[in-house]
Symmetry: C2
Subunit: 231 residues, 2 copies
């Protein structure tokens, strides 16, 4: 009391600048390790899925370029949701003070959104659902298209809508907080990490949602035209 020194909060790179982060330890790996991991695994998955989708042994059906790219997208989503966001879902409490590879990736990303180092309640909930629902379902979507299963477009619609809704809430909650958890207009942290990386999950799922909507409506229209009129 008075004589005991308050433990000083470690200086940190997060916003707002007066944020208190318990047990923060700065990264000891350079930023490019995280970025290289993210983009090289994504590129590898893209290549593999592109080739797999082109292999005619699956169903003997040729696949259009757009469809092959969509499958690459879902494979990358399976990795990012399942592995990277899965890590956050499991270890969000420890990340600020942890030096394992994926924790360092999250400490780097959090420079664009500090909700990831303060266990923000909505963020943890949304990421947990993303990791455990949209992650596995993304991979099932790839499989469903490779095997031409009848629910392939339903899965595409479900995953895309889930991603879209989660991401809209992600931006909307932060907008209502005045983008307080980021250094506004910072080219790398605000624009690239926070805006661009997440905008991808607005734009691409919107396109895929409309695509699935069109395919499923067309299938229903075809069925309606031959089936007796009974709902």
């Amino acid at each position: 009391m008075g004589l005991e020194a308050e433990p000083l909060a470690a200086p940190h790179p997060y916003w707002p600048r007066d944020l208190e982060i318990r047990r923060y330890i700065p990264n000891d790996r350079p930023t490019w390790h995280s970025l290289a991991f993210l983009f090289s695994v994504s590129a590898a998955l893209l290549t593999l899925t592109w080739l797999a989708a082109g292999w005619r042994g699956w169903t003997g059906a040729p696949m259009r370029t757009g469809r092959r790219l969509a499958l690459c997208w879902f494979a990358i989503c399976g990795f990012i949701h399942g592995v990277i966001e899965g890590w956050f879902s499991l270890y969000h409490t420890d990340i600020p003070g942890d030096q394992s590879f994926l924790s360092q990736l999250w400490k780097e990303y959090a420079k664009g959104d500090s909700r990831y180092v303060i266990e923000d309640n909505f963020t943890v909930c949304m990421e947990t659902i993303t990791a455990w629902a949209w992650g596995p379902l993304s991979l099932l979507t790839v499989l469903a298209f490779l095997q031409r299963q009848p629910h392939r477009y339903v899965l595409q619609l479900v995953v895309s809508l889930g991603q879209l809704y989660g991401d809209i809430l992600y931006f909307y909650t932060e907008y209502r907080e005045g983008f307080a958890h980021s250094e506004m207009w910072h080219p790398l942290y605000f624009w690239f990490y926070f805006v661009f990386m997440n905008a991808l999950w607005i734009v691409i799922p919107s396109i895929l949602l409309l695509d699935a909507w069109g395919h499923l409506s067309a299938a229903q229209r075809a069925l309606d035209s031959v089936k007796p009129k009974r709902h």
Copy 2:
């Protein structure tokens, strides 16, 4: 400074008990007004939609009992999302101190979840999307089935998944806060308002999601069996 009295926070019925609620004014209407409004409008919509769905002039197609009930559900959702949650979306800032009918309804409901009288950020965002997306889309779903439009099951899937995801987040965020915004185990406020009323939007959308999934997969299967194999 020292001489100026702190304005006393008005006593309120919300949890946690030490919650500060700005400009709170207690309801001057009895509780049953809100409940009667909610349930009588819902019952009227149920009756009207039930009759409308039974009218064979729409498409000449008979509609099964389950389908007619599903349409009643979507009509009630259109009302609750569009009107009641729409009100919250627009006036969440004023509700604690406002005596208009729907504000009093929300002050009553908030006894089961005080996030509705403190402008909780996630709650405002989720309710706004519910009101302006799932509300109108619920009504479009009713229309789509009455007119037997080919996207009727797609709409059912979209609305049901949107409701389900929003509601899971709603329960999950509050679970992680230890149900702090309600008087736990209170028969009316906790069990009926918070648990039961929201559990409806877990159970029924799950059933309707599976139903739409089945119909859309069946339509795709039928189309796949006649179309040349091309994705």
